[in-house]
């Protein structure tokens, strides 16, 4: 066990899976010598060579489609898109091809591919390089959607994603690459679809993931001063979603706030709120609150961008409005 960054944890997961399974290979733009747009694949080209760490042309459709085709033919590709925002040009290969092949073909195809994509705002990258698009993928039967927040989770979940026999969308937050935490050196996996209670509390449940988990934890600390003891639940996977852990928490706290960086409208928070309304409304003592970004594209100028990104302040405000 040692302290590592989120980026190092991901890199280690890739290295260990490539060492243990020759079927695992990486493809994407600048993932080779360059080490990936944010450096996640650094060193892997030198270690495994161009046959297993493949620099592709800037053609996202074919990156995703080639991964799907190779997966259907028995390999375990890990494809990287530089930014989740680029999924638009490749979407058909993901949702019409990779996600549906197994069902359409009557269970006769297996598509064990992982598609890693950084998302999120905060680096002044503007509207086409900063979005949080997880809810788009949650609406696609056949996909799994993984969205880790800590270095420990990032490593264990990426290993599970690579070993999973389904197409897995793996969403990394670009501001988290430098986040540090304890990460075991050895290989380990974390079951997909299991939430993690990151902070225990009794007065309100805050569901938050990815970068927003840290805002939720910060909010929980500050809320102590007001005598509010918040529980923070990190779903870690949005598809499948661990409803039970969220419902169990709500049964205890009777109040729910869902926070994410994506726009609030039709976001993952809407689904989580709807699940509680459907299945656990009798345990709820107050309106369910959602915290998310305003319904506009991510702006460029730093003061605008900082204003746009939801943070601990909004979470505290939402909690106080129901506690």
């Amino acid at each position: 066990m040692s302290e590592k960054t989120y980026l190092q944890a991901l890199n280690e997961a890739l290295r260990q899976e490539m060492e243990s399974d020759e079927k695992v290979f990486i493809l994407g733009e600048d993932v080779g010598q360059f080490g990936g747009c944010f450096g996640v694949t650094q060193g892997l080209f030198a270690e495994f060579g161009e046959e297993r760490v493949m620099d592709t042309p800037i053609t996202e459709s074919t990156i995703v489609g080639a991964a799907a085709g190779a997966a259907a033919c028995g390999l375990r590709p890990v494809a990287e898109l530089m930014f989740v925002d680029f999924i638009g040009v490749a979407f058909d290969q993901l949702f019409n091809q990779a996600a549906k092949m197994r069902f359409m073909f009557g269970g006769k195809a297996t598509v064990p591919m992982t598609l890693r994509m950084p998302q999120g705002a905060g680096i002044g990258a503007a509207a086409q390089h900063s979005q949080s698009l997880e809810s788009w993928f949650m609406n696609i039967p056949g996909l799994k959607v993984v969205i880790p927040s800590t270095p420990h989770d990032a490593k264990g979940l990426l290993i599970s994603a690579i070993r999973d026999d389904n197409p897995v969308v793996f969403l990394e937050h670009k501001l988290l690459y430098g986040a540090t935490g304890e990460v075991p050196d050895e290989s380990y996996s974390i079951e997909l679809g299991k939430a993690d209670v990151k902070r225990e509390g009794s007065d309100v449940t805050i569901v938050a993931y990815s970068q927003m988990l840290y805002s939720a934890l910060e909010a929980a600390e500050q809320l102590k001063a007001d005598g509010i003891n918040a529980e923070v639940v990190d779903p870690r996977c949005l598809l499948p979603l661990d409803k039970d852990t969220i419902i169990d928490s709500v049964k205890k706290t009777h109040k729910l706030v869902v926070a994410h960086e994506a726009v609030t409208f039709a976001g993952a928070g809407a689904e989580i709120a709807a699940i509680i309304a459907d299945e656990a409304i009798e345990y709820i003592d107050a309106p369910i609150k959602r915290v998310g970004a305003p319904f506009c594209p991510v702006p460029f100028s730093p003061p605008l961008e900082q204003f746009y990104i939801p943070g601990a302040g909004q979470i505290i405000e939402a909690v106080k409005s129901i506690c």
């Binding site: 074919t62 033919c73 590709p77 009557g106």
Partner: protein, 319 residues
């Protein structure tokens, strides 16, 4: 080309199998017994047959919305295909896919595809897998003239060539992207010309001449297996029916259709076989009858098969 009698007869029978299968579908679709869309391959039989007979079972193909011919030529089972198109539980995809999504991984069929241009990137993946695993396999991507304009197809041609993948692109140019004639959708006359942009061989063949298709594809497959990269074979052909069954075809004239029917690939090949004493008229007659019986049996199998149970709906969403 010097082909054995067995190979020639296999081609002949494959074309007849596709023809009679499609005619039967036309009949049952008109009778309202087939749900959804059906895109028939009538008139184009020589392309799938000439191309797939250059492949082995472990070679992979990606197909299109007009895929029945490709699947049958790659060895697809008549009964399982017919049952799938009839939406039955016994079909290739247990009734979950239908005409546009039939696959048989054991025969290297990575699926028909409802998205025009959808197969290109997948075929790159199949070829990449063959190269990565150092098998001797090649992949083949069937795509139409319409798909040749899609970005995915151009991306796939580029990546396959940049990486020298064992991939053969077989373009089925039937002159129309749904209703839009080729002259309105692209400036080039020969889609094969586009191969030059990717530094790969581009060959135009008479898509209604099964031997011409076969010969060109065999060369391309040889090149692919040797590690020399992909090729693009353009097969000029024509679909006898509309884009889909029910298409009134107002965008084409009868004379054009009649002219192409005059180039029907099956009698042309049959005449050659008879002329070269490979086949007698009696054998020809017997072959048509035998295959007709096989197709009738497939229909019988499909119609007597149960519909899928609604309890199976959620099966196979995830592995």
């Amino acid at each position: 080309m010097n082909l054995s009698k067995k190979s020639l007869m296999h081609m002949y029978e494959t074309m007849i199998r596709i023809r009679l299968f499609e005619l039967k579908l036309q009949e049952f679709f008109a009778a309202g017994e087939i749900p959804g869309f059906v895109h028939l391959y009538l008139g184009e039989e020589a392309v799938a047959t000439g191309a797939c007979t250059a492949l082995t079972d472990s070679d992979k193909i990606t197909s299109t919305h007009r895929g029945h011919g490709h699947l049958l030529a790659k060895g697809g089972d008549l009964k399982l295909m017919m049952a799938e198109i009839f939406g039955r539980q016994t079909g290739y995809c247990k009734g979950k896919g239908g005409s546009m999504h039939i696959a048989d991984m054991d025969l290297g069929i990575l699926g028909a595809n409802g998205i025009v241009g959808g197969g290109g990137p997948l075929s790159v993946g199949a070829a990449l897998a063959a190269k990565y695993q150092k098998t001797d396999d090649v992949a083949m991507c069937f795509f139409g003239d319409g798909a040749s304009n899609q970005g995915t197809t151009q991306e796939a041609l580029n990546m396959a060539s940049a990486w020298k993948l064992p991939l053969v692109f077989v373009n089925e140019n039937n002159g129309y992207g749904i209703s839009c004639p080729q002259c309105k959708s692209m400036a080039v006359v020969d889609i094969a010309d586009r191969a030059a942009a990717y530094d790969m061989p581009g060959v135009v063949v008479d898509g209604n001449d099964v031997l011409a298709v076969h010969e060109a594809v065999v060369e391309a497959v040889k090149r692919a297996r040797k590690g020399e990269g992909p090729s693009l074979i353009e097969c000029k052909t024509y679909r006898w029916r509309g884009h889909f069954e029910g298409d009134a075809c107002t965008y084409r004239c009868v004379e054009e259709l009649e002219e192409w029917k005059g180039k029907d690939p099956i009698p042309r090949f049959e005449a050659k076989l008879i002329e070269s004493n490979t086949l007698t008229k009696a054998e020809a007659e017997e072959t048509w009858k035998r295959i007709e019986k096989d197709v009738d049996e497939a229909v019988e199998f499909a119609k007597s098969s149960p519909m899928p149970s609604t309890s199976a709906l959620m099966d196979d969403v995830y592995a």
